[in-house]
Every structure is written in structure tokens, then in C-alpha cells.
């Protein structure tokens, strides 16, 4: 694959002849340059692999505590045993084969002055460029009593792994006729349609296995991602908007913001208390802790970056990609993280070799699975706008049409699974 990405395409168009382009990158140009990557999730692992594919001379070290990464995508299917958790787990062996040095530890400090990264084990790594991709961390101050300990009883299941299994077991154990409460977060947060996809799938499971149960979504927002498509599906399958709806959505207008939980009484407290048999609290979020600690975030709790290169606007030679970065209008999604990481890798290589910054191009596609035969999607192509800010390409993208046929919705299920297989293979394969 290396030689393919290196290949110079030598066909020439009239329009660009004047630009006298040369083939690039040249092999080995980055020899001796060191890139340290903090966090081996979707963004970090993609950056590691593509840096090595684009220039085999670069020394790439990826630091990630987990030996097994569990994707958040498709983890909602694990919640009702529609899928095994092993099917969404990946190791770092392939990255090693691509020549990435993988260190399983936690980064405790990034020092932009000495350009050094320190891990818990004490070891330090010098870098010429540092990619920071720690994903999200939760704002534990936002909801009174919702602490890391409380999340052992009221799971968030928004970083996949043990939390996913905990929530799965609670859903399985819940009695028919029980109440499942989903506390949704304020914007911006990871995977905007994620909570609503989750509610849809759990409703499908209830409908087939525990039909007297109910789902209450408590939401501080006035509206949510793909809302019209979700609610149309809820009307179709779950009696939404009827007196006997399986799903109830309580948004901003109905004071749906949860400010406190009572773990003992199993209550989520908005304007009034809601009692649940299972309570899934997805708290508000900000950039991963290490990004905050290293001074890479602004007042919003997220990291401002140059949209052409993903270099931090705060610290030179540090790049932030994935959920932690401010890349709006791109959503915080796995597809975005993968797409941004490739742009970032190309920018780093260009910098090492003194070439102009490459012109970026991005894609995001997010599927939401509602039933085993009904999926919806949002897709968008992005480029760099006139002010150097990422923009949606006018006229492109959008949602699954409201009037899409059943056949097309079924095909979207097949394509959602294909997306999963291909993107994980692109990252961890």
C-alpha cells in the first residue's frame, strides 16, 4: 500500500499544467522525524497508520492505555444482545505491523515547551509533532450526584466497554413493565444521533420482549439530530404521539433538563423527579482530560485548531483530531475523526518536508439503526471555506429522504454494517 500512496500520478490537465506540480511525498523525507500520538482511538489509530503509509521514514509512537479498543459505534446493538461485544473489539497488532510503536500506558503530561510527552510509567518521549486524540471526558460537575461512582449504578455507556456491558445487563434484568430513563446531554457532544438511536433500539427490544415497558428521554435540548426521521419511525413502530407510546421525549420546552440524580431512589430529577428501573445518564462532555490539562482547550472545554492542518491554535507542533477538536460544522463522529486524522497526517508530512499545506477534503456519514430492517443516515462532504474554516459543500449531503422506501431503509442497514467493517479495517487492519 505504501508504494500506492506514494505513486505520482503523471497525467496532466490543461488547467493545472501551469502549476507545475510534482509528485509527493518523496520516500524517506521524514526520516528521523518523531510523531507521538496521545490516544489510540478512532482518530489516533488512523493518524498513526496513515502517517506510516504516507511516509515509512517517520518514527510513530502511539500511546494508549487499553490493549483492546471497543468501538462506540454499533455498541447500542450490544445493549440488547443483538450483537456480541467481541464483534466491536480490536487490538493494535496490525498497527505494529505498519511500523507503529504502540505503548500501552496513560499520558500524564504534554509539554509544548520541551516538546515532550510523559507517561504514567515515567518514561518520556520527545516529539517533532504530537497528535492529541483523547476523545471526550465527562463533565462530572454538571449533574448533581452524578459521579464516576454513580455511573456504576446509572451507566453512561458512552465510552464503550465495561459500561456497555453494565447497561446491557441492567436492560436484560429489567422486568416487563419497567421504565427506562435516558438522560441526554447538551450540545456539543459525541455522536449527536447516538442517544436517539439507542432509545429506538431499546424500544424495539422492549416491543418484542418486554412490551409493557416504557422509555423516557429527558433532554435539555429543544431539538435533536435526525429528529423528524426518528420520530416518524417512532410513530410507525412505537405508537409515538399516541396515549400509549412506548417512547416519551421530554425536551427543553417541557423542562427536560436533568440537574440532579438520586442513586438510592433511582431518580433523575428535572423540574420534577422521574423514577426509573434503569437509568442511563449521558452527561455533558468536553475534550479528553489530557487535552484540558495540557492547556489545549479554550473556555468551551474543546480544542481550537487550524482547520487546514488540525494544528492547535494554542500550542505549536501539537495537533488535535477527533472528538476533542473544534471542527464544527463536522459532528463529533467516528467518520469525522477518521477523515480529520488523514488530513492531519498529510499536513504533518508536508510540514516535515517543507511543502505547502495540503488542501483538505472531508466526509462524514453517520448511520442510525432503528430496527433490524430500518436505518437512516446523514452524510456530508466538507472542504475549507474562504476564511479557512471547514464548511459544508453547498448542495451536498443531507438526511435519508423522509419518503425513502422500505427497501431503501433496509439497504441502509446493509450499508451501515459495511461502513462498520470497512472503517474499522481502515483503522485497525
Amino acid at each position: 500500500m505504501t508504494n500506492i500512496t506514494r505513486r505520482t500520478f503523471i497525467t496532466i490537465s490543461a488547467a493545472t499544467v501551469a502549476a507545475s506540480a510534482i509528485g509527493f511525498p518523496r520516500p524517506g523525507i521524514g526520516a528521523g522525524k518523531r510523531v507521538v500520538i496521545v490516544g489510540g482511538g478512532i482518530a489516533g489509530a488512523t493518524a498513526a497508520k496513515y502517517l506510516r503509509l504516507m511516509d515509512g521514514g517517520i518514527d510513530v509512537t502511539l500511546i494508549e492505555p487499553k490493549k483492546i479498543y471497543t468501538t462506540c459505534f454499533l455498541s447500542n446493538e450490544v445493549l440488547w444482545d443483538h450483537r456480541n461485544i467481541d464483534s466491536i473489539q480490536f487490538n493494535y497488532d496490525a498497527l505494529g505491523k505498519h511500523g507503529v510503536t504502540v505503548v500501552h500506558d496513560v499520558v500524564t503530561a504534554i509539554d509544548p515547551g520541551s516538546r515532550r510527552v510523559t507517561i504514567k510509567g515515567g518514561k518520556r518521549f520527545n516529539y517533532d509533532a504530537c497528535v492529541v486524540s483523547p476523545g471526550i471526558s465527562f463533565n462530572w460537575d454538571a449533574i448533581e450526584n452524578y459521579t464516576p461512582e454513580a455511573s456504576q449504578k446509572l451507566p453512561h455507556a458512552y465510552q464503550a466497554g465495561p459500561q456497555t456491558l453494565l447497561l446491557r445487563d441492567q436492560i436484560k434484568a429489567m422486568k416487563d413493565g419497567g421504565i427506562f430513563i435516558l438522560v441526554a446531554p447538551q450540545n456539543p457532544f459525541r455522536c449527536p444521533p447516538g442517544p436517539y438511536e439507542r432509545a429506538s433500539q431499546i424500544a424495539w427490544y422492549f416491543k418484542n420482549h418486554k412490551p409493557r415497558s416504557k422509555i423516557i428521554i429527558l433532554d435539555p435540548k429543544p431539538e435533536f439530530s435526525k429528529q423528524a426521521l426518528f420520530t416518524a419511525a417512532w410513530e410507525r413502530y412505537f405508537g409515538y404521539k399516541t396515549g400509549n407510546s412506548m417512547i416519551e421525549w421530554i425536551g427543553e420546552a417541557d423542562a427536560g433538563e436533568v440537574t440532579r440524580v438520586d442513586v438510592k431512589r433511582m431518580e433523575a430529577i428535572a423540574s420534577s423527579p422521574y423514577k426509573g428501573d434503569v437509568i442511563n445518564v449521558i452527561p455533558p462532555q468536553h475534550a479528553g482530560k489530557i487535552a484540558l490539562q495540557s492547556g489545549l482547550a479554550d473556555d468551551t472545554g474543546w480544542c481550537p485548531v487550524n482547520h487546514r492542518t488540525f494544528e492547535s491554535k494554542i500550542h505549536k507542533d501539537i495537533y488535535v483530531v477527533g472528538d476533542a477538536a473544534i471542527a464544527a460544522p463536522m459532528p463529533k463522529s467516528g467518520y469525522s475523526a477518521n477523515s480529520q486524522a488523514k488530513v492531519c497526517a498529510a499536513a504533518i508530512i508536508a510540514k516535515f518536508s517543507g511543502e505547502p499545506e495540503p488542501v483538505p477534503s472531508f466526509v462524514n456519514t453517520c448511520y442510525s439503526l432503528i430496527t433490524p430492517e430500518h436505518a437512516i443516515s446523514v452524510a456530508m462532504v466538507y472542504n475549507l471555506g474562504p476564511k479557512g474554516v471547514i464548511q459544508e459543500v453547498p448542495g451536498a449531503g443531507g438526511l435519508t429522504p423522509k419518503d425513502a422506501s422500505d427497501e431503501m431503509r433496509k439497504r441502509e442497514v446493509a450499508y451501515a454494517y459495511s461502513w462498520f467493517r470497512n472503517i474499522t479495517h481502515d483503522i485497525f487492519g
Binding site: 497525467t11 496532466i12 490543461a14 509527493f24 496513515y50 495540503p358
Partner: protein, 217 residues
């Protein structure tokens, strides 16, 4: 049955050994693309071909070879076919789930850059389950009805024909369904032959063909 399996295998070996790079470039496609990087001060700054093409990997696989189960492999398809396909999506003359929404995001020049990238990629075919009996029957049908345009068991990326050999079966099913329903128009030159296939062989024949293409890896 073992002999039959061997025969199918041999055919797929031929396919995989087919010399790459024999595909003609059409004159309109003399595009310049330097991977990720276009140096100099291009009049309108365009992303490089790899920069554009890497965004497709999420669904179509690294360098365009899909690991399935449904989204098609786009590695190795001809420049002409890639462009024709993207323009059809862009103009919504071909049915799709999301491709129409995606294709609208690219200028014609950008589509040409991507086409050049994917035409250069070697297809990595994956094994998939198939029904041997149907595949053998499908092979005969392929020879009779399809081989004229889709040469070599549908493995050759001709000017205007998609690659069928080793393509993912669900994708082929969707594609056949769209041709049969008329949702996807077919050029007159192919329509006659296709109609004949449907009339004479029916849904069983279609399924046998799909199983044959699925067997070619």
C-alpha cells in the same frame, strides 16, 4: 463437485492474474494529481487525488477494496465508469441510498481526480459465501448473456462496464433489482440483452449470476 470447484477457482485465478494497467485513459481525463499534494499555486486550489479518495475508505474500504458485506469495491474500475457513475449519482439519474448526497459534494474536476486514483488501485477481493450449484449455472448464463460487455467473468474494467467478479452479492442484488424495476435506466445497447436474460431466465437466473460473481475471488 470438486472438479467444478477447481474450475471456478481457475477462472478466478485468471481474473486475479489479469495484467493491471491495461485500461485506456480517455483524453478528457488527463488530470494532474500528485497524491495528497498539489504544489505550486494552482489557480483554484484543489485537494490532491489521494486526499479526496481517502475519504471514501470509510465505506468502500482502504484504497477502494471493500471488505463487505454490501458496499461495493471501487478499486480498479475504469476512469470512464467512475466518472459516469459519480455524475449519475450527482444528477440523481441513478438510484442510491447516500451516494447521491455524497456525489453532490464534488466538482467535476474533483471527480476526475478520484477516478484517476481508483483506476490505479489493485482490487483486493475477499472470499464470500456462495452457492456452488448456482454459481456453476451462473457462469453459463454469464457467458451467454453478459460476457460481451463484462469480459472475463466481469473482471475487466472496460470503458463503460462495472467490475462484477468478486463484487459483494448484496450490492449486486440491489443493482439487479434497480435495473429490473426500471429505477436505474440502462443504455439501449445493453437493455436488449438484459431483457432477454430476465425473460428467459427469470429471478432464478439473476440469482445464479450473482452467485457466480460472488464466487470469483
Amino acid at each position: 463437485m470438486d472438479g467444478a470447484k477447481q474450475e471456478l477457482r481457475n477462472m478466478s485465478r485468471d481474473i486475479n492474474n489479469h495484467p493491471p494497467g491495461k485500461r485506456p485513459y480517455c483524453a478528457a481525463l488527463l488530470v494532474l494529481c500528485a497524491g495528497f499534494f498539489i504544489t505550486g499555486h494552482a489557480a483554484a486550489e484543489l485537494p490532491g487525488s489521494a486526499m479526496l479518495a481517502y475519504t471514501c475508505a470509510g465505506c468502500h474500504g482502504a484504497n477502494g477494496s471493500s471488505v463487505g458485506p454490501a458496499s461495493p469495491t471501487i478499486a480498479g474500475i475504469s476512469v470512464d465508469y467512475f466518472i459516469e457513475t459519480m455524475l449519475a449519482y450527482k444528477n440523481a439519474t441513478r438510484p442510491s441510498t447516500i451516494m447521491s448526497r455524497i456525489a453532490k459534494g464534488y466538482s467535476d474536476e474533483e471527480i476526475r481526480l478520484m477516478a484517476a486514483f481508483f483506476a490505479e488501485q489493485k482490487i483486493v477481493r475477499q472470499p464470500q459465501d456462495y452457492d456452488m450449484k448456482k454459481a456453476i449455472r451462473g457462469r453459463k448464463l454469464h457467458k451467454k448473456y453478459c460476457n460481451k460487455c463484462h469480459e472475463d467473468g466481469g473482471a475487466l474494467a472496460d470503458d463503460d462496464a462495472g467490475i462484477l467478479a468478486g463484487q459483494w452479492a448484496p450490492f449486486l442484488q440491489f443493482t439487479f433489482a434497480d435495473f429490473i424495476s426500471g429505477a436505474r435506466p440502462m443504455p439501449d445497447s445493453k437493455k436488449q440483452q438484459f431483457d432477454k436474460l430476465i425473460k428467459q431466465q427469470g429471478a432464478d437466473g439473476v440469482e445464479q449470476l450473482i452467485q457466480f460473481y460472488a464466487s470469483q475471488h
